[in-house]
């Protein structure tokens, strides 16, 4: 079985949720108050700690048409390949003299102008597979189908850094859809949640419960080998505190933020609130389905892009107001792009390389790497210039500061995602 090496992670990771709270936030009590080490962790030096990093993954399921997302609007070959569904030059949101965004992506434009969004062009992998499942599985596991694929890249990462004694959720899949393989690991299961309500305790008297847990008494065996009870005790206190913090945030009008009433808008709204509530979660995963646009693409694709762009922009704005924009990295990907030439039903078929998007987290803003050439195709598809595992390597090593070899199964060069060495 493919396993990554275990690493001790007690040092910086286990204290992250406490640190989150300690960083520039009032009302630090919650989690801190219940932990015996809280006082020492409030030492001034920790205020400078910035290892407190979160990754949000947005999966565009179905194969997003990259060519109509980041558009080579001056390219004759583009016009020729897409007489029906090409985006008119006048409508394109221009990034430079050659490239621009789909008109539904004004949210992304704003992020770029604020220096908060980077677009990595021409991302893919060798011998592209045009099956949704095969390609998605490869993106999730970094393993070919000949190998066994039980663990995802994020699952392996989380298993590596997980602290057994920490009861806070280290990863969350938000949504009622099937849990993505990317989060799977042999050792533990990440929860799937559909709503923020699932984080709020509904018992009659929370204050009483908190009081009881903070007070003395309670079970506990004499021998210190039985730390199961201590684990449960700490976990229950942490859950109560996170719930309380959420209540505060949800209850305060000021913090509510504005999120689009779309499916993704709601999901990212929850993610943003959970992050600011100081939950010790490192990876959030959400999906937006519907990108498999074989027919009558323009309307559907535009609506999906708008949904994604608005939701992403709202989340970044909300995090920005809380001063947490740079603590969060958002990755948006799809299992493949689409064929360069449109089909006969005003749609596009499964393709290969496509752009990928990174936001927040001190990323290099604007266009990263060059657009794949339309006059140099492989079986009618764009060729990739950057392997998606190079993106992962950069995220694992530069963002999370962990060795990527065991997680990715091979050593990949790191894509240059960040503005400065992080």
């Amino acid at each position: 079985m493919l396993m990554s090496p275990r690493r001790s992670s007690r040092d910086s990771f286990s204290r992250r949720r406490f640190v989150t709270q300690a960083l520039g936030m009032t009302g630090v009590v919650g989690l801190l108050g219940t932990h015996p080490l809280a006082a020492s962790w409030l030492a001034p030096t920790l205020r400078q700690t910035s290892t407190d990093r979160v990754l949000v993954v947005i999966q565009l399921t179905g194969g997003n048409d990259g060519l109509n997302t980041v558009i080579p609007y001056r390219d004759e070959a583009y016009r020729k390949a897409r007489p029906q569904i090409g985006i008119p030059e006048a409508d394109v949101l221009k990034l430079d003299d050659d490239l621009g965004l789909h008109p539904a992506c004004s949210g992304l434009m704003e992020l770029i102008e604020r220096g908060k969004l980077g677009i990595v062009q021409g991302v893919g992998y060798p011998d592209p597979n045009r099956s949704h499942f095969e390609s998605m599985d490869l993106w999730h596991t970094c393993r070919h189908k000949e190998q066994r694929r039980r663990e995802g890249w994020l699952g392996r990462y989380l298993a590596d850094v997980r602290d057994q004694d920490e009861a806070d959720v280290i990863g969350i899949h938000l949504g009622r859809d099937e849990q993505p393989l990317a989060l799977a690991s042999a050792d533990f299961q990440v929860p799937s949640l559909a709503s923020i309500e699932e984080f709020r305790l509904r018992v009659a008297k929370q204050e009483l419960l908190r009081g009881i847990l903070q007070g003395t008494g309670g079970a506990g065996k004499e021998d210190d080998q039985d730390d199961l009870m201590a684990f449960l005790q700490a976990g229950t206190s942490a859950a109560l505190s996170a719930g309380q913090r959420l209540d505060e945030i949800l209850g305060s009008q000021h913090d509510r933020g504005e999120f689009p009433a779309s499916l993704l808008g709601e999901k990212l709204g929850i993610v943003a609130r959970l992050i600011t509530a100081g939950l010790g979660t490192r990876v959030y995963y959400v999906t937006l389905d519907g990108f498999d646009t074989h027919a009558l693409q323009p309307k559907v694709h535009g609506a999906l892009l708008r949904q994604w762009s608005e939701a992403l922009e709202s989340m970044m704005k909300y995090l920005g107001k809380q001063g947490m924009e740079d603590q969060v990295l958002v990755l948006t990907f799809s299992e493949f792009g689409r064929r360069v030439a449109e089909n006969a039903s005003e749609g596009t078929d499964h393709g290969a390389a496509a752009p990928l998007f990174v936001a927040g987290g001190g990323v290099r803003a604007g266009l990263i790497s060059s657009h794949p050439r339309l006059d140099d195709l492989e079986d009618g598809d764009l060729k990739h210039a950057i392997d998606f595992r190079e993106i992962y390597a950069a995220i694992i090593e530069d963002w999370f500061a962990v060795e990527s070899l065991g997680i990715l199964g091979a050593k990949y060069e790191k894509a240059n995602l960040f503005a400065s060495t992080r």
Binding site: A167, Q179, P191, L193, V203, L209, G218, A219, T236
Partner: protein, 455 residues
């Protein structure tokens, strides 16, 4: 050095016997019921306390002929209705109802154990009847012979569909099932090599699923001789399974997994502690029943090293509370709630089944556990012994809130939350509400305490 390292195996596996200082009592009965089943009901506990361990075990290990046939018939009718539909989650609701009321809780506990061991998900299999037939196979063999189970699972349509092994052609053997057979079902990692897997896979060529039934296709079977674990002359899949089970590690592997399930999530016991059990298990042809009975009647099982050393699975937690209150609920609500907590019956997360132990617990599942119990207890359709909770408590001779609370703690908690906490909950409940609501709220509060998760 862990709590199991310094144990003398001879001491550990001797049958536990009541003494004046360490008598058979309700606490021991409740421990047995929590581990061997889904927790005691009030009346079960009274009966078993009076009967003693031996008779209690006799009943736990009885087959269904010892019980009222009508209970089984009624349950079978329910299944019949569900099989006509297309929803595997209805099957999960049925199973939970059956777990909570079966006269043979140990059989269901073992069936659940094997469901995790031979994990198969309806997510992929889809067909309800396939899932049910596998469930019945696991139930039939729950306390029978392990070879029967493995031979059955090797031909089980749900398993083969789940492992992408519904077709297996000569010349291009599918290694998936062969690999899981040795790695997950029988021996564990590191006790076989790639050569063994490839040879095993050849034995299973021609094993197919057609219209959701197993069939042997002789035209696709590679009838050549195979060598597995150094033994030559093996041809059929059945012979291959037998050869795998002849490995001495098979007994150790299963005993280790049963220990984790019945005794303690952690730490892992040293091999020498389990050696006498594994040896006997092997000598008796891998008969599961006698092994489990020896484990559940041992000194170690009733010792402080084992009591309250496990984290309850979602199923154990919720059914334990419902049984303590003679409660019947909307089982679909229960099944869906348990799935959100990570234990969807017929929907295990992967072919490895449920990891168990601390993995069950995180801040979202802790809140989710308390909320699910709160919701079920306060659901208007929930009945306690057929009626309201306060009248049930009254009939049970625990009409006073304080009596009710203490009895609930005794039945439901493997380790008490302590007098102080109990006192505060009681004070609050007496102050703030009245009648039925008071009882239901109190259960909700108790179920939010950290101690509730131990068993």
């Amino acid at each position: 050095m862990t709590i199991f390292d310094d144990l003398d195996p001879d001491w550990a596996w001797e049958p536990w016997e009541a003494t004046a200082e360490d008598p058979w009592d309700a606490a021991k009965g409740a421990h047995l019921a929590r581990r061997a089943g889904f927790g005691p009901t009030r009346s079960w506990l009274a009966k078993s306390t009076a009967r003693g361990l031996e008779k209690t075990l006799d009943e736990l290990f009885s087959d269904r002929s010892a019980f009222d046939a009508r209970v089984y018939q009624e349950s079978d009718q329910l299944v019949g209705a569900i099989l006509g539909g297309q929803d595997p989650r209805q099957l999960a609701s049925w199973w939970l109802r059956w777990m909570s009321m079966t006269p043979q809780p140990l059989v269901e506990k073992m069936t659940l154990f094997w469901h995790g061991h031979f994990a198969t998900s309806a997510e992929k299999v889809v067909d309800v009847e396939c899932m049910y037939r596998q469930n019945q196979l696991l139930r039939d063999g729950a306390l029978g012979s392990f070879p029967y189970l493995v031979q059955g699972i090797a031909k089980d349509p749900a398993m083969l569909i789940y492992l992408d092994s519904a077709f297996n052609r000569k010349g291009r053997p599918n290694e998936n099932f062969a690999r899981e057979l040795v790695e997950l079902f029988c021996l564990g990692e590191g006790h076989y090599n790639e050569q063994d897997v490839q040879q095993l896979a050849r034995c299973f060529t021609g094993w197919e699923v057609r219209r959701n039934r197993f069939r042997f296709n002789p035209y696709q079977h590679d009838d050549g001789e195979k060598t597995i674990f150094g033994k030559g002359g093996i041809r059929s899949g059945e012979e291959a399974v037998d050869e795998v089970l002849r490995q001495s590690t098979a007994a150790q592997f299963i005993v280790g997994k049963l220990f984790r399930s019945f005794f303690a999530d952690e730490p892992a016991p040293p091999p020498h502690l389990l050696a006498p059990l594994a040896l006997r298990f092997r000598e008796t042809g891998l008969e599961i029943g006698p092994l489990v009975r020896r484990m559940l009647s041992s000194r170690l099982f009733f010792s402080s090293r084992v009591v309250a050393r496990k984290i309850r699975s979602p199923v154990e937690l919720v059914l334990g509370i419902l049984r303590a209150l003679d409660a019947t609920v909307n089982y679909r609500l229960l099944a869906d709630g348990l799935e959100r907590l990570g234990q969807g019956l017929f929907y295990p997360p992967s072919v490895k089944g449920w990891e168990g132990g601390r993995v069950w617990i995180n801040s979202s599942t802790l809140v989710g556990r308390a909320n699910l119990i709160h919701a079920l207890v306060n659901e208007p359709t929930t009945r306690f012994g057929g009626g309201g909770l306060s009248s049930w408590a009254g009939r049970a001779g625990a009409g006073e809130l304080a009596d009710f609370l203490r009895e609930f703690v005794d039945i439901c908690f493997a380790v008490s939350p302590g007098a102080q906490r109990i006192e505060r909950l009681l004070e609050d409940a007496q102050d703030s509400s009245s009648g039925e609501a008071r009882y239901r709220r109190l259960v909700g509060m108790l179920a939010a305490l950290p101690e509730i998760h131990l068993c």
